[in-house]
């Protein structure tokens, strides 16, 4: 009985999250049309540069691809102004950090991504588009 109740609760919460997420417009302050929002990817790598400037913060990342070569990814986050309102600081990401980034890749196949979230070396997860969803 208790188990059934737990299952029902988990299912309801999952349904609630799905409904809420689907209600949010998937768009940043500029056009996100160049990015494939339907097929997010996750890559891990070492930060070579972090640009903390408007209109977007950029993370540059060296990522080892499956052929053993290194791709340089450019990862676009929201503006520092808005990111700082959801807890980011200019030193949140540092050169040399090993991080994991998840986001929408460029539709044209280049190693460019619109960041959804980043997992820092500490394991902390940060929202890469804070307030873009109309909060």
């Amino acid at each position: 009985m208790k188990n059934c109740f737990t299952v029902a609760m988990v299912m309801s919460l999952a349904l609630a999250s799905t409904l809420l997420l689907s209600a949010l417009p998937a768009s940043a302050h500029h056009s996100s049309a160049a990015f494939d929002l339907q097929h997010p990817v996750t890559v891990k790598g070492k930060v070579t540069k972090f640009d903390w400037s408007n209109p977007h913060a950029f993370i540059y990342l060296d990522v080892l691809n499956k052929n053993g070569k290194t791709d340089e990814w450019r990862v676009e986050a929201n503006s520092p102004n808005m990111l700082s309102r959801v807890g980011w600081k200019r030193e949140t990401i540092k050169e040399g950090d090993e991080i994991s980034v998840t986001g929408a890749p460029a539709k044209n196949g280049t190693s460019v991504m619109r960041l959804d979230n980043v997992v820092l070396p500490s394991g902390q997860k940060m929202d890469g588009q804070g307030f873009s969803y109309g909060h």
């Binding site: 309801s12 809420l20 417009p25 302050h29 056009s31 990015f35 209109p55 102004n81 109309g134």
Partner: protein
């Protein structure tokens, strides 16, 4: 028993969903909220405001009454945006061109209203722009140079600030999605503080060169206590659109 729990939970979830979705939609005349300061004049619009629900299209659920050429241009912009390199696109704002009015109001960046005796000043974070709305009874200058932000004058109708803006250069997009405008653009805004932390703006677009008739959309803004307008330098890192 089990089924009852499930039904109860599903009802709760459905209620939550609709509550969240509709909480920020159309606001009718409301009594001031409990947070409202009794000394606050309804004409005091000051504060840092932020779009309550951001959409790239200013009209989220419909198309405006396009002139044929404007519909074609809108479609072309949409196509170019989804096929362009992320570094390049048709939107003028990533090249640091001002978004103009009404787009600057609905960007997902805060802006602040400062009230002065003869004018109301809007300080926009996005692109660090300033808009002055003169409320001392003056009209628009006779010979206006066309600009991105236009020329704004306002007057009070009850507790609603009615702002009239003309003098546009025809280069702006009305929203981030790419609604066209021309130099015939005439924007009328009816701005009102519906409660302590909500500002409502009924925006009417009259641009007969681009649209067959005027159209109106209501946008809501939420007060952000504790936020300050920050510097925003577009040209510094202008990589994306």
């Amino acid at each position: 028993m089990r089924a009852r729990y499930l039904i109860l939970l599903l009802v709760f979830v459905a209620w939550m969903f609709f509550h969240v979705r509709h909480a920020a939609s159309r606001v009718q005349q409301q009594a001031p909220s409990a947070k409202s300061s009794s000394s606050l004049s309804p004409r005091d619009l000051s504060g840092v405001w932020f779009i309550s629900e951001y959409h790239q299209n200013i009209l989220p659920n419909e198309d405006p009454p396009f002139q044929p050429w404007a519909a074609a241009l809108y479609k072309k912009r949409d196509y170019e945006k989804s096929h362009a390199d992320p570094d390049k696109g048709p939107d003028p704002t990533p090249r640091c061109i001002p978004p103009g009015i009404p787009r600057e109001m609905i960007q997902p960046f805060p802006w602040e209203i400062v009230m002065a005796r003869d004018r109301i000043v809007m300080i926009f974070e996005y692109q660090s722009l300033v808009r002055q709305i003169f409320i001392d009874g003056r009209g628009h200058p006779a010979d206006l140079d066309p600009t991105y932000m236009g020329n704004s004058v306002g007057k009070w109708e009850g507790d609603t600030l009615v702002v009239d803006t003309v003098g546009f250069n025809g280069k702006i997009w009305l929203d981030p999605k790419g609604l066209p405008s021309t130099d015939a653009l005439h924007v009328t805004e009816r701005i009102r503080r519906v409660n302590y932390d909500t500002l409502s703006n009924d925006i009417t677009i009259d641009d007969r060169k681009a649209y067959t008739k005027p159209w109106t959309v209501q946008k809501l803004f939420t007060l952000k206590p504790g936020w300050q307008i920050k510097e925003y330098v577009c040209a510094e890192n202008n990589l994306s659109h």
